[in-house]
Assembly symmetry: C2
Homo-oligomer: 359 residues x 2
DNA sequence: CTGTTAGCGCGTTCAA
DNA sequence: TTGAACGCGCTAACAG
């Protein structure tokens, strides 16, 4: 990845920038100009172009034609200023380069765009400071709604207190005050762990993130719940909770967990950790599932491509995003409906990385 | 991925929405209110808060304190209306769910945010209609600049003609009028093909997309160039160009290419096609590289994880995005500098999927 | 150094 | 059914 850049001379013979050719493209055309062109007043033009209020049919057509001819594009700032709210929805994810968040964002964008809203996307690197800065930006833009995978309760509460509709996705930080779309993490982790217990494993490691996020906490809870249900004791030395800022470099910690605690199976709490657990297994030249079993959380393409395939708890990532957007839109349309938490169902996908322990 | 949703009753005992607690949070506080609170005029407040123009030190502090106390957030719409341009940069990618574009967007966002700009992200599914709609939105928002992986020349030219700074990334559609950041696709494809030719392959399939995009065209050109250099004839029946709207379901076409044209190696033009080529190889129970060699374009995590690893032309995706953002910012600062095309260097990463042909 | 004045482009009364 | 007048919140001239 250490590729370098180089300069290339522009090959076109033209001047630096193409000059605008359109008539009146010099300055963006305004509503008043459209009105003048059609021989009406600005207010009539306004009504005609947005289809509200009374306008004579022929006048409307004249206006429409004029707007089209002049290439009129309404000034969103002026509209927002007037209506006191914009059509820009703020979206915050933890890390856009992570496929999970990218797909989530793709789902959100799809629905927002379909509804005539725009997505202002911020990737906050799980820093609450960046998140608050984003919140202030959304406030400045008078965003009617915000959708976020929040790192803490501050931003959601801050926005909520100022009348912005906030929908939390993936995890809940301000459950008292926000709508949310989350996965049933407890069930997902429970199913995965039960699967391992059913195969005969009794030393199952849990590798997760040390946060108070409902997502991670739920997965740990499900892991424990399954043990309790099965009457199997939970060995705390098998639980590895990593610093959230260091989940990207967890291989060392995972390796020493394997060596010291000697689990027969591993359950990782997210896709980043799954990659690393898999790499550790490879580096240690262990075989899946003979030497150790592995279960991941969040299904990615590679998990089906490696040999053996990785057993995972899959989640409808794109759908999570879509539902969050829809929930946001619904709340914007009906501000005073009861608060709502939408629970999405995970699904255990069994592949070759899990098998009985070696006696 | 067919998980379902279900409704969960909100568990908090609270009312539907938390009421704002802040004093004056009912309506967002305005500059005039801050001014009144500090006993000055609005213009003085404006100068103080944005640090421009003369303001007495004590007055400034009073104003700053007042703004802070009241929780003042400047209204971006009003600012944009006044200055006739916003700080929102439009970004268009073809498909946010594709890792390539997601990482590109992440790079763009990082730099824009660092410079105090916001990213309005649209994923257009490679539809020119969606792209033009996005362009109109950016115009409406008075975006000073737009960064895009365009599907055609219309949107870039449209925006450019209206005075919007446009930077093309990944491919050039309007090379006459826009700055651009692109990969040296010819060299990348040339290196990959030369690598295969050097191993002794003479029947190398090229699997790409049938567009006039510079990216795909460049890759095909590099493939051919390498053949010419090596004095090896290009068998046109080995070139498979797929409908851009159907690149996601190319497995059938790839399989029949393998059966009919009997290549000893395959070179795929993007990451989506690489996955499918790999799957076809697996489904046909061919072995890499014994039965066939495979080279991909664009390095993804799984390509190093499967066995054998996939030889690829890697590209600095995140960096592509960063440079595009920087180029856009530079052009905004100096509108009349000469047009510039930045060429990024790809790198051939040799792994186990390539080897000599079976005699 | 500060306040007054005057819009930016639009939507929304309210009379006509 | 239409248009005149006003103001959304802010900044930029211009006087003071």
């Amino acid at each position: 990845m250490d590729s370098t850049e180089s300069e290339a001379p522009a090959h076109g013979p033209r001047r630096a920038r193409v000059a605008p050719e359109e008539p009146g493209a010099r300055h963006p055309v305004t509503l008043a100009e459209v009105a003048r062109e059609a021989g009406t007043s600005a207010s009539t033009a306004s009504r005609a172009l947005r289809g509200q209020g009374y306008v004579a049919e022929d006048v409307r057509e004249r206006l429409l034609a004029a707007a089209d001819r002049l290439g009129y594009v309404p000034n969103a700032s002026a509209q927002s200023l007037k209506q006191r709210r914009s059509r820009v929805i703020g979206v915050v994810v933890s890390e856009l380069a992570n496929q999970f968040y990218a797909r989530l964002a793709a789902g959100v964008e799809q629905e927002l765009r379909a509804a005539g809203y725009q997505m202002l996307l911020v990737s906050d690197n799980s820093e609450e400071g960046a998140e608050m800065a984003a919140a202030r930006t959304f406030l400045a833009l008078r965003s009617p709604g915000v959708i976020m995978t929040a790192v803490g309760p501050k931003a959601p509460e801050f926005l909520n207190a100022r009348g912005v509709v906030v929908v939390e996705v993936d995890r809940q930080q301000a459950p008292e005050s926000c709508d949310a779309v989350v996965l049933d993490n407890v069930t997902g982790a429970h199913d995965a762990t039960t699967h391992l217990l059913g195969l005969g494993h009794r030393r199952i490691a849990f590798i997760g993130v040390d946060t108070d996020w409902t997502s991670d906490a739920g997965r740990l809870a499900g892991y424990r719940l399954a043990h309790v249900e099965a009457g199997a004791p939970v060995d705390e030395s098998l639980t590895l909770l990593l610093d959230p800022r260091a989940t990207g470099s967890a291989r060392g910690a995972i390796a020493s967990l394997l060596e010291q605690a000697r689990p027969t199976a591993m359950f990782t709490g997210n896709n980043i950790l799954a990659v690393q657990a898999w790499q550790v297994v490879r580096d240690l030249e262990l075989r899946l599932p003979t030497d150790i079993s592995l279960v991941g959380f969040d299904d990615l393409a590679w998990m089906e491509m490696v040999t053996p395939g990785i057993t995972v708890v899959s989640q409808p990532t794109h759908e999570l995003g879509r539902q969050a957007a829809l929930l946001c839109l619904r709340r914007l349309a009906q501000p005073s409906t009861e608060r709502r938490v939408q629970l999405m169902r995970p699904q255990l996908v069994v592949r070759g990385s899990t098998g009985p322990p070696r006696s």
